[in-house]
Amino acid sequence: MDAFFASVEQVLNPELKGKPLIVGGDKTDTRGVVCTASYEARKYGIHSAMPLTQAKRLCPHGIFMRGHYEHYRAASEKVRAILESVSPLVEPASIDEAYVDVSGSQRLFGGDDAISSYIKGRIREETQLPCTLAITPNKLVSKIASDRAKPDGYLRIGAGEEAAFLRPLPLAKLPGVGPRTREVLENLGVLTVGALADLPLATLTGVFGPGGYGLQRAARGESTSAVEPESVPKSISRETTFEQDLLDWAHVERILIYLTERAAYALREKGMESKCVTLKVRYADFKTNTFAHTLPEPTCLDGDIVRVLHNLMPKARERRARVRLIGVALTSLNYNQHQLRLFGGKTSMKWEKVLESVDKVRDRHGFEFMRSAKSIAMGRDVELATPSLSR
């Protein structure tokens, strides 16, 4: 999807069309980063992940807003449904990106171009949103090609054309080539993907070890990674940056409890349990610490996770600095592996039932509809600067 959050906002409020729109934080927000900038805003050099203050300097007359995640999510789900009508093999890569394996849908639709115009047409019709498609032999090339074809474009790279398409591109476009790898390659005189593809394998493996093989394959547009519809998440985390650095740990803890409720809700939605709880703290000086605790038994209950975090808090408080960001990460996730207990399982079973009902209410009326007393204490209408929190 092209400038997804900004495009959704422009559909919701047509007055915003054609104007430089920045989603991530409003004019008064002094911190945070740009989530999405409309193409009009990009002309000023604004891009996602740029600090808001910098964006405001570059484009003082731009329209800044925090965003409405629930609308983005709804739009994303509509698009996903459209993609699933083309092929059951849809792998969402993020809220605004997905891979679709269309190799089995060729005869039904009559070729790549027909598939493309069908998808683009339906998305335009049902959501009024612009999108870019690339139909290519594999995920790697699709990713790069769709990037090239933006905005509102379509690019088809046929089998055998991958290497030629990639050749002229700068190294940075190739997934897996980060700043470090690029530096090494540039020292070797390699500046384009084509030059990388031409490098003898022995040279590459000599420099990068076995990873050199993967680099060369990527440079030649070769990839065999399949489109996997259901991928099991490795971790679930929720974090937020405060509008002002906080010193009041009681308040920080209330926000943390709120974040935990969010994370645990997502955890249960996926039918998963977590065995390792991590507390993440970024202090005013940007130093970031994480504190982890492994539970004896995996859990999906808010109470269990909050208890662990509560016990981890004193460690985070040892550093006497203001807190800029707080977050919780649930890892060591398992799925469908709930080991029942001989003793004392009744209490947790009761809680599971309670939370199951709570989750059902939330599914219908939204997450905010039901929250724990402790997190409500921080204010009924939580407005955290992180739009993705309403995920």
Partner: protein, 368 residues
């Protein structure tokens, strides 16, 4: 103190006691072994303050006394020394001399007076039990002892003596193992103690097949004396959960399986699981049990095998490790599994001319 002793005899004794020594202890003396001379023997003691092991070994005592020596250092020196007699003595400043033929070793050490005393149970009347029986009871159940120190009361084995029947129970909250015996158990004494898992491990290792063991008990400690060895432990204070309550009594689905064939099948399913996804589904229908594993990103496994079962179909999932630990300890040709439904505990017991109700294993399922 000065003694002379065959190297192998001393090494054997050191190996018996050294397992309780914790290499990284806050108290340096706890990394040492205490040696005290007797009439014509030397007594070695090692302790971690909770569990202590003493072992007596015959030797020539040239001069009475006591000394301490680093457990790790002593055992590594002894295992490298040539066969033959060696002499150990202590000089000024707690310097230990160890001589064997032309080899002379001096070891810096600590005063024997610093070594924490081990409780003696001289005034208590012991309970005498066959070694073989205790060893067997521990071996059958100790695997289920909880290793999570946060649940302290479960980190030991419950030993309950009541009307001539000894029952031992271990649980970690997810499975439970119980073994009961009446034969060779003295009547008239009733007691209920929790013995720490570490002590049970040491006893399993040291108890033999022949002879008796004298068990000394008071409110806080227990001692086990047999052969030339004595072990003393602090008891776990706390409440053991009501184990009888979780033993299924009204389960209606009873199946008989060939122990070794079932063990092999479960072992095979085990190869298809991983750390995160460690459950096997068991579907029982008349005459056939199906074992089924689905592990994301790994694959699937299914196996059918015959069983004696006439009840309604039932499906349940277990952690295969929990089952295997039980199966390994069942030595009858057949075993009996009793179930109710997918959410209720499963009961596994040996079967020989009927279910053997003195060895019960309760395993909680994984929710399907």
């Amino acid at each position: 103190m000065k003694i002379s002793i065959p190297r192998q005899d001393l090494l054997d004794a050191v190996n018996k006691v050294k397992t309780v020594v914790s290499p990284k202890s806050a108290l340096p003396i706890l990394s040492h072994i205490l040696m005290e001379t007797g009439e014509s023997s030397v007594k070695l003691t090692a302790t971690d303050l909770k569990v202590s092991i003493e072992c007596k070994v015959d030797c020539t005592v040239e001069e009475q006394g006591s000394l301490t020596v680093s457990s790790q250092r002593l055992s590594s020196i002894l295992s490298e020394l040539p066969e033959g007699d060696l002499s150990i003595s202590v000089g000024g400043n707690n310097v230990i001399s160890l001589e064997s033929g032309k080899i002379q070793t001096k070891l810096f050490s600590m005063s024997a007076e610093e070594f924490p005393p081990v409780r003696s149970f001289d005034t208590i009347e012991p309970l005498v039990l066959p070694q073989r029986l205790l060893k067997r009871m521990f071996q059958k159940t100790s695997f289920a002892i909880c290793s999570d120190q946060a649940r302290y009361n479960l980190t030991g084995l419950l030993c309950e003596l009541d009307s001539g029947r000894l029952t031992v129970v271990a649980t970690d909250g997810r499975r439970m193992s119980l073994y009961a015996e009446s034969e060779g158990i003295p009547d008239g004494i009733n007691l209920k103690v929790i013995i720490p898992g570490k002590m049970i491990g040491e006893l399993e290792r040291l108890l033999g097949e022949d002879g008796d063991v004298s068990v000394y008990l008071d409110e806080t400690q227990a001692a086990f004396a047999f052969d030339s060895i004595r072990l003393v432990t602090a008891l776990i204070e706390g409440n053991f959960p009501n184990y009888d309550m979780v033993i299924p009594k009204k389960h209606d689905k009873e199946a008989l399986l060939n122990t070794s064939l079932f063990t092999e099948a479960v072992r095979r399913t085990r190869t298809m699981t991983n750390d995160k996804f460690n459950s096997v589904r068991f579907a029982l229908t008349e005459g056939v049990i199906t074992l089924h594993v689905v592990t994301p990103e790994v694959g699937e496994y299914e196996e059918e095998m015959p069983l004696e079962y006439q009840g309604a179909p039932v499906e349940i999932a277990f952690n295969p490790d929990f089952l295997l630990e039980v199966l390994r300890r069942i030595d009858t040709e057949k075993l009996c599994i009793v179930l109710k439904d997918a959410m209720s505990p499963g009961l596994v017991k040996p079967y020989k001319d009927g279910p053997q109700d003195n060895y019960l294993n309760v395993i909680m399922p994984i929710r399907i």
